[in-house]
């Protein structure tokens, strides 16, 4: 009887040990990226020029493109799959480190086109920098100082109904190089 109990306990231990060993010892699970997310910022003055240097009163336009990793395709299928976007519950939001956030909308760009012109579909949000806005960090302290400017970090997050969450940060955000954030200068 005692031998049988030892055998059962041994078998149970063999089953449980691998679980115990892998649970606390392993590093945080590396997550597979659900969406291929890329984002940039451009001037909202109609020139569409890419920059991360703005003046108070300027308009910042956040642009993001979201592709399904599995297919390499835009889930919105260039405007043909708007229902699919809704079904997926896809939400794309731009954030500033000062706590502001800007929900992005999926749309056609440019909005007005002639019959033969080509368009592109992606996510955008805009932010008109208040004339009195004071960004939280001094850009004079950056590796390449931008005298008189202040900066605020930004990022974009895409989420969906399944709980997928992908974050985009500008390249080199962990450094003190100038593209770290939006540099805002006095007008």
């Amino acid at each position: 009887m005692r031998g049988k109990a030892t055998l059962i306990a041994g078998a149970a231990l063999l089953l449980v040990l691998p679980l115990l060993a892998s649970a606390p010892g392993e590093a945080a699970p590396r997550t597979r990226v659900a969406y291929w997310l890329m984002a940039d910022v451009i001037r909202g003055d109609g020139s569409g020029v890419q920059t991360n240097v703005f003046k108070q009163g300027d308009e910042v336009v956040f642009r993001a493109r979201v592709l399904d990793i599995a297919t390499g395709q835009d889930p919105g299928r260039a405007g043909q799959g708007l229902k699919a976007l809704k079904d997926l519950g896809l939400k794309v939001t731009a954030y500033l480190e000062d706590g502001q956030s800007f929900p992005m909308t999926y749309g056609r760009h440019p909005a007005q086109v002639g019959p033969r012109e080509t368009v592109s579909w992606f996510w955008t949000a805009s932010w008109k920098i208040p004339a009195t806005y004071n960004a939280p960090n001094d850009a004079g302290g950056l590796r390449i100082p931008v005298a008189g400017g202040r900066y605020v970090k930004w990022w974009v997050i895409v989420t969906d109904k399944s709980g997928a969450s992908v974050r985009f940060d500008p390249i080199g955000v962990e450094t003190t190089l100038p593209p770290i954030g939006l540099i805002i200068e006095k007008r």
């Binding site: 997550t31 020139s47 020029v49 890419q50 080509t118 593209p179």
Partner: protein, 175 residues
């Protein structure tokens, strides 16, 4: 005897046809994005007409266009070079990142530490191109391609490329 032959032939067909049809599908990435590629352009330090190392797509003659690219592995969302701790992994995988201009020029990017000295630093891919003084002014489309030894091929185009938007290409202006 003939019936037996047909039976054997059909059995052989059933046995061999599935591998024949699945073989091409498993070769190459087949549209799957193996790498997550992020890229931007910044103004380099050669003859700058404005703040150095800020994002822009408008350059003047003599200025330096710098491509900065981050390549992450989709399955782990990690840099294959582990932020400079494992550059041999990049070599072993044969990862190559190249920037292309629509005029046929191409620029291989190098994986390195930025900034070169001092802390904090980040590891990503970069290269620079000094715009020649006699380079035609106007718009110039660009894109990037990431490849590796397994024949993975991922192309990055700036947002809005292909559309009639004012800015996505590199814009070259007179000084």
């Amino acid at each position: 005897m003939r019936r037996m032959f047909i039976l054997l032939f059909c059995a052989a067909l059933i046995a061999f046809v599935p591998p024949l049809t699945t073989q091409p599908a498993s070769a190459g990435p087949q549209g799957k994005l193996v790498y997550w590629v992020m890229a931007d352009l910044v103004r380099g330090s050669i003859q700058p007409t404005g703040t150095v190392c800020v994002q822009t797509n408008v350059f003047k003659h003599g200025e330096e266009v710098v491509w900065r690219v981050k390549v992450l592995e989709v399955s782990t969302s990690e840099d294959p070079g582990d932020n400079g701790k494992n550059p041999t992994a990049i070599e072993e995988r044969g990862i190559k990142v190249t920037a292309y201009l629509e005029n046929g020029m191409s620029f291989p990017l190098r994986y390195g530490r930025h900034p070169g000295r001092g802390e904090p630093a980040a590891w990503f891919w970069a290269t620079g191109w000094k715009v020649p003084d006699d380079f035609p002014i106007g718009r110039l489309k660009w894109w990037l391609v990431v490849t590796d030894k397994t024949s993975a091929f991922v192309r990055f185009d700036p947002i809005g490329s292909g559309a009639n938007l004012p800015a996505p290409p590199i814009i070259i202006e007179r000084r």
